[in-house]
Symmetry: C2
Subunit: 433 residues, 2 copies
């Protein structure tokens, strides 16, 4: 049975985006104590909340797509005051307090709000080189992860098929651009696939001949971490056979490889983990933005000239202790909870609170049984950091069923060196309509 519709007189909060931030805000507004006092509509382009920290594992065939994705409406099914809509938001009118949305093949719909929470996150940025995108996909959505998985597996298939040695070398070269957490994790997983997972599966070449190149523009990997951990990560990756190049800027990417200054690296597969920009919707808020499109909000996360609109997570351009906020799940979750509390405070005529990010630590994995972590000034690396990483990620997987499924996949992978999702999907190619 549908929930009884709440009276239209109750303030309507519209949340754009069902990531960590939007979901945290919706959960806070759906609590028993506030449930009867606000109506909530959450809008997302996808039907699922995505556990982004494990997205690289879908891209590298360790997990299946449903392992890290749960339907948003299932996660919020108990919130009787909340409606979930899968739709594109095409326009925001901050003054008129209206968002315009469109589903597939449908007319546009207007939706009026009393309060708006913008939590649409980041997308891949190519810094003026959008033509590179076709040959160097990034990793922000499940569809991109499946596209990357397909490219990696197809490259090995092509290497088995070809009778041309130069072509085989090109197919067996994987370039990852960007030495942040995503780039490090992708490079580590690729080295493991080539060295172990596929070791006995081919007849015309040895997968160990394949080459993983990680390119970082700055002087060290994982610049958000302590330099000593950057050094550990560098040594771990080199130990896995990854060709890591620091202070290296890409000057061109095409279907045949990557140009870095005078050197050309022939490669069929290039993956992009070098930059992000804010989702395009921020430009419609009428607020000042930084270079990456993030919104320069007040300390309480509302817009400078419009306290009915709040911005969450990666989209916040705020500094704390002289540093920008880290683009991690905790920033999104904590800002989502604060924005929700502030909206309730506004409705009650009480003062809003300012955002203060509480650092719970950060971590990254480097291949099998190896990770780095930084928690409250403590630096941890190796197997213990990897166990921590494992524990925390399973714990935070939002959906109970997914926790068990992922644990099962990981235990299996650890025991067998296998990856269970080596399936090439190609909806786009076989589609007739």
């Amino acid at each position: 049975m549908p929930a009884p519709m709440l009276s239209p007189k109750i303030p309507h909060v519209v949340i754009l985006g069902g990531g960590f931030g939007g979901l945290a805000a919706a959960r806070a507004l759906g609590k028993r104590s506030t449930r009867g006092r606000v109506r909530v509509t959450l809008i997302d382009r996808q039907n699922h909340h995505l556990f982004q920290p494990l997205l690289y594992q879908v891209a590298t065939a360790a997990l299946s797509a449903p392992d890290i994705a749960s339907p948003i409406r299932k996660l919020l099914r108990k919130n009787a005051n909340t409606t979930v809509l899968m739709a594109d938001v095409t326009r925001i009118d901050p003054k008129a307090r209206v968002v315009v949305l469109r589903g597939e093949e449908e007319k546009e719909q207007e939706l009026a709000f009393d309060h708006l929470i913008v939590a649409t996150g980041m997308q891949n940025a190519y810094f003026g080189n959008d033509a590179w995108e076709a040959n160097a996909p990034g990793l922000k959505t499940l569809d991109e992860a499946l596209e990357i998985r397909s490219r990696i597996l197809r490259a090995f298939e092509g290497a088995e098929r070809t009778r041309d040695d130069a072509e085989r070398d090109k197919l067996l070269t994987f370039v990852v651009v960007g030495g942040g957490a995503t780039g490090v994790e992708l490079a580590g997983a690729l080295a493991e696939i080539a060295g172990k997972t596929l070791a006995r599966d081919f007849r015309n070449f040895d997968p160990k001949e394949s080459r993983v190149v990680l390119l970082e523009g700055g002087p060290r990997l994982l610049p958000a971490f302590d330099p000593k951990l950057s050094e550990k990560a560098l040594l771990s990756l080199r130990g896995l056979g990854v060709d890591v190049r620091l202070n290296t800027r890409v000057t061109n990417v095409d279907a045949n490889g990557v140009q870095i200054g005078d050197e050309f690296i022939p490669a069929r597969t290039t993956l992009w983990a070098a930059g992000l920009k804010a989702s395009g919707l921020t430009a419609q808020l009428g607020a000042p933005l930084d270079r990456a499109g993030r919104v320069k909000v007040n300390a309480d996360l509302t817009l400078p000239d419009n306290d009915r609109i709040s911005v969450l997570g990666d989209l916040i351009a705020l500094e704390q202790d002289g540093k920008p906020l880290p683009g991690v799940a905790q920033t999104a979750i904590q800002s989502g909870e604060l924005a929700a509390a502030n909206i309730v405070a506004s409705i009650d005529g009480k003062p809003r609170k300012n955002f203060h990010y509480s650092d719970r630590g950060s971590m990254a994995t480097i291949g099998r049984a190896s990770a780095i972590a930084e928690v409250k000034g403590l630096r941890i690396s190796g197997f213990i950091a990897w166990m921590m990483w494992l524990f925390i990620h399973v714990l935070f997987l939002v959906d109970f069923r997914n926790r068990l499924a992922v644990l099962f996949e990981w235990a299996w992978a650890y025991l067998t060196w296998q990856r269970s999702s080596r399936v090439i999907l190609a909806l786009n190619e076989n589609r007739k309509s």
Copy 2:
């Protein structure tokens, strides 16, 4: 390390297709006793062997794609005499004993064979109405299953979004065309999704309002089974709320619904389970075909005028005891094993054996905890048949890891009524290249 290349003087067997038939043939030819005496190349368009009997569970969001798919080269990794290639076969020259294949973006390659096994299976057939395909996808590949899953989930999303009652009714009507095993299983799963899985997830409608219509052209469901079991299936489906119409022929399908004679059923989602035809390659064999494109082979499965080419599984046009062979996994497996043995016999100058299909029984599920089965003249239905179905399907899942994963998903689904793979994937739409 790649396996040592076998001498090119050793007879080369090329197998087209890595389904049940092709895989059984490859396994037989890779046995210790024959391994050193033949070289084998197996070619498939996909990188994975697909456990087709469970494909409808991927389409209805109960299983994820990797649960029922294993990389063919992983399944055959221990067969040192076997090379697996992912490629399209564009041409067969039966006289010159050459197949022509093409990978992506590559030139065509010729591959000479001494013996050829054609095991490329069936594809959806629309009987002269190919325009229907865009609005009524069939269920033969993993990509098609994900496309169907996406359409089903998008229809419910659209129903939550729309403000138009007629449009909502259209979105909540699911028409399945064809009352064979696939149609019955799809209709049963759809009824369960609407009645239970999604029961509390929407605010603007009750999923129980949705309507599942199953159209069958003949006088009964599951015509391959005993009439008493057809009757049981009919009662079970009607008990689940499915609107089953027998003796009903579709006269048109478009994006708005299905025409059956004078009646039009408005529906956004139509699924096609009404017919199959042989893969197009059979036309190149120079052998007589039946109406569905199956090959009229000799009793030993070779072509009438070419004993170097054998045909397997669904592609065989042979009668046994006055009935056509059933299009099930057992037909494919048994014919694959026989074709492999006959090739070894030919090489040894021994006589080939004729194919005799040994019926191991057949079964179909009808929603939760209900199935029908027919084994050696015994007819079973209800919960016991469902337990048998469960046991046999898990047992036959080719890959050990997948067995555990599927058991886990099923146990979870049985306890919670949930479906773990409610994820809309849309590679084609987000793809930039």
